[in-house]
Amino acid sequence: MKIANEALLSTHGLRMHYGRGSGLVRAVDGVELAAAAGEALAVMGPSGSGKSTLLHLLGGLQRPSAGEVWLAGRRIDGLSEKALARLRRQTIGFVFQAFHLMDELTAAENVELPALLAGRSPRTARRRAAELLERVGLADRTGHLPSALSGGERQRVAIARALVNEPLIVLADEPTGSLDSAATVEVLRLLDSLRTAGQTLVVVTHDARVAAVADRLISMRDGAFVEETRLSLDSGGRLGERLGALTGLEG
């Protein structure tokens, strides 16, 4: 319980091993993670470093081989399938690289769906969806099917959907992995606004730009955390002065 009291989301000795003998893969190998409420955390590493598996363990999409996952004071790694499904629906917002929108539903219906599944009234779900689509800059796209939207717009719908049940935490797996650079900036702007709004966020990525949105960045290699970088800017000088040194304009 001690870990659970300090962090909104934490893990202890978390492991995920596949195979055995010489074929053993240690995808996640002894991860100690703690994300405070309101913190935006990035886990960065090359492909195969275990970061996606880690995110699946954090969100209850996979069960660990060993170790513990705590969310809001509750140990979740041993919950039943049914309890996990309820937890995912009500307290976690997921954002995936491939968006995972329902093709036959409009943008608004995609956003409403998790709210309806969580037992909200159709009216409340509709209102929340409209608010969120406006917040992600898609107020004029609510009736569009995903096929009529650009990649960046689809990901913004997916982010709105992730927020519809006011999750305790948003988990994002390579949220810009399928996007061109202009769409990437749209999504970065949105993630940055989530961070400033105090949404607890864990994003795993190989892209330094995505990671740079976080307050704290953890580098992952071979299933383990190897380095940690604080990115919050409250310490050490004004923004302009810090940037000046990067542009050759200090003087």
Binding site: R209, A212, E227, T229, R230, L239, G244, T247, L249
Partner: protein, 192 residues
């Protein structure tokens, strides 16, 4: 690299920056004769949040130097109840200098050589662990990337200062990729 393009007023320590500020002010004056505060306003518009890095007096100090060097001429304009203001205008020599600067393709601050030599020397002498140096450098660049990107994301669409910030972000991204390559090299050397 940066110093080899004929800077007449080179200062021993920060001559490079100063030289660039001189050329920039000259170029900003090329449009029309202007007061110092107008030049400063143009500079601030172009730099956005980065303008904080320049101290306010530097524009005026530099304009004085340019005047002494004969690159700008200054005309005093009287104002009621206030000290005279100067209106600066490019001289022929100043215009020539601006054109030289525009045509100069040397790229500012090529940093990798210094850092590379730091790693090689540290490893050879056993002074420090190159992997540690790379990791520390990575923390610093990531913090810089976060700062530049946050500033870029808060610029409105179409902001000219946003374009500069985007340049900083892209450059840091490339530097970070190179650091990853450095880390791989020095890690594999250690494993041998």
């Amino acid at each position: 690299m940066a110093q080899n393009v004929g800077a007449p007023n080179k200062e021993p320590s920060d001559g490079y920056q100063l030289r660039v500020v001189q050329e920039v002010l000259l170029a900003l004056l090329a449009k029309e004769a202007s007061h110092g505060y107008q030049v400063r306003a143009r500079l601030q518009l172009a730099l956005g949040p980065l303008a904080e890095a320049l101290n306010a007096g530097q524009v005026y100090v530099t304009l004085n130097r340019l005047e002494k060097a004969g690159l700008v001429s200054a005309e005093r304009v009287g104002q009621p109840d206030r000290p005279d203001r100067k209106v600066y205008e490019l001289t022929r020599a100043g215009r020539t200098r601006v054109l030289e600067w525009l045509g100069d393709t040397s790229w500012p601050k090529p940093a990798p050589a210094e850092f590379h030599l730091k790693l090689v020397a540290a490893a050879a002498a056993g002074l420090a662990d190159p992997e540690r140096l790379v990791a520390d450098q990575r923390h610093a660049l990531l913090a810089g990337l976060a700062a530049a990107q946050r500033a870029a994301l808060t610029e409105p669409d179409g902001s000219v200062a946003g374009l500069l910030l985007e340049g900083v972000v892209l450059r840091l991204e490339a530097d970070l990729r190179w650091l990853d390559t450095c880390a791989q090299y020095w890690t594999s050397r250690k494993a041998r």
